[in-house]
Symmetry: C2
Subunit: 235 residues, 2 copies
């Protein structure tokens, strides 16, 4: 999806913003950056871009919007203010439309200048005009934030937790075995007895059955209940 999406910045003023946009693009898996001149890519942009310099290096420059979008199919323009002759849609609606387009569609995401936003001319040549919800009328999100929120919502659609990012939970049968062992130990210690059995057992299931427990967690818990309690009682 990200490969056929083009981030288009119209006349961005601050060099830092170009760096921040590149960084946000990299973090969300985008790489196509188009810039409508004038724009200043300076040392500052590269410093802020951190590990995303290649996005700035491969950015394409255009003289005007028309030439920046002529090989694309559908343009979504971001605005923070109402435009009297144009229909606005919220960000999540724009994302839904993007998802509903055939996979060969080339999509432009257009963001205006920091101070002035998009011109009416630029809005006119966009297919959809979207706004990012905000709690107050002023201030609006800054340029890099608007880009980030838009890109993150597209990125997250297909995001899968990478293997190894978190440890796998132990299997259901291992969970059951562990809880049974905990209950057995609690019975041996007299924590669970005939009058509170059902009540305490259910609470044990509630605490340990709903937790996300890994192999490492299981080993610690079993050690606490098998030895930890023993040593405490005896020492």
């Amino acid at each position: 999806m990200q490969d056929r999406i083009y981030v288009i910045l119209s006349q961005p003023q601050k060099p830092e913003n170009l760096g921040l946009v590149a960084r946000n693009m990299k973090n969300t898996g985008f790489k196509n950056l188009r810039i409508i001149k004038p724009a200043n890519i300076t040392k500052k942009s590269y410093i802020v871009a951190v590990h995303s310099k290649e996005i700035l290096e491969s950015a394409q420059f255009f003289d005007d919007l028309q030439s920046a979008i002529k090989d694309l199919d559908v343009i979504f323009a971001s605005t923070s203010k109402k435009r009297s002759n144009f229909t606005l849609i919220p960000l999540d609606e724009a994302i839904r439309i993007i998802c509903s387009l055939p996979p060969s569609t080339k999509i432009g995401l257009l963001f205006g200048n920091e101070r002035t936003g998009l011109t009416s001319e630029e809005v006119k040549h966009s297919n959809y005009l979207f706004y990012i919800p905000q709690a107050v009328k002023k201030p609006s999100y800054n340029l890099a934030s608007a880009v980030l929120l838009t890109l993150f919502h597209i990125f997250i659609l297909n995001f899968q937790i990478p293997e190894g990012m978190i440890d796998k939970p132990i299997s259901k049968s291992e969970q059951e075995k562990m809880i049974e062992l905990i209950i057995k130990k609690l019975e041996e210690k007299g924590v669970i007895h005939s009058t509170n059995k059902r009540h305490v057992e259910e609470m044990v299931y509630d605490i340990f059955g709903k937790a996300y427990l890994t192999e490492r967690n299981k080993r610690l818990l079993l050690s606490i209940f098998s030895k930890g309690i023993d040593s405490k009682t005896s020492g």
Copy 2:
């Protein structure tokens, strides 16, 4: 919801980041900012904060995490890296847990220092450790971006499009009347005739029935079909 959520920044280094965080908080409706010292709020912070200066002014300062969280109930800590002894959950899961907490729960959202992230000690005193999905291992989101993405996802849960932000669509019966009038005009012009009637009529319904049309749009369309086509044919 936002009133009982506290954004806690642990030892933020860059004065600009404090301003950016304040701006992002304002845009998403949050106001409680807590800062663990050392931290530098400078002129730079205020310049970047734009219309959110009051958030910086009312920020509370603390000597350590313990004192910053002692009156709160549940702490969610943001991390970009795996921690061997702690279970990580993705942002959306953290948001779901936040939503599942009773309305009187006071929640802390903890973000670490820009370079080092949260210390193990800080992670230890948090209830949940969450990460914001990203497409690459490096770089991670910068501090203000991590705060923004977290706050936006909470804010958007209860966001309602403000009245007046977009014009109301015309009613279904007005839409029907308008389409019938368009079809009538197209029949008069001979665009619709006996052999293509069903086909073209369906396409007209498809184009105009699925569009979001306001009173203003309706007037223009009726004018185009009533007069516009006439004048073109006659001129």
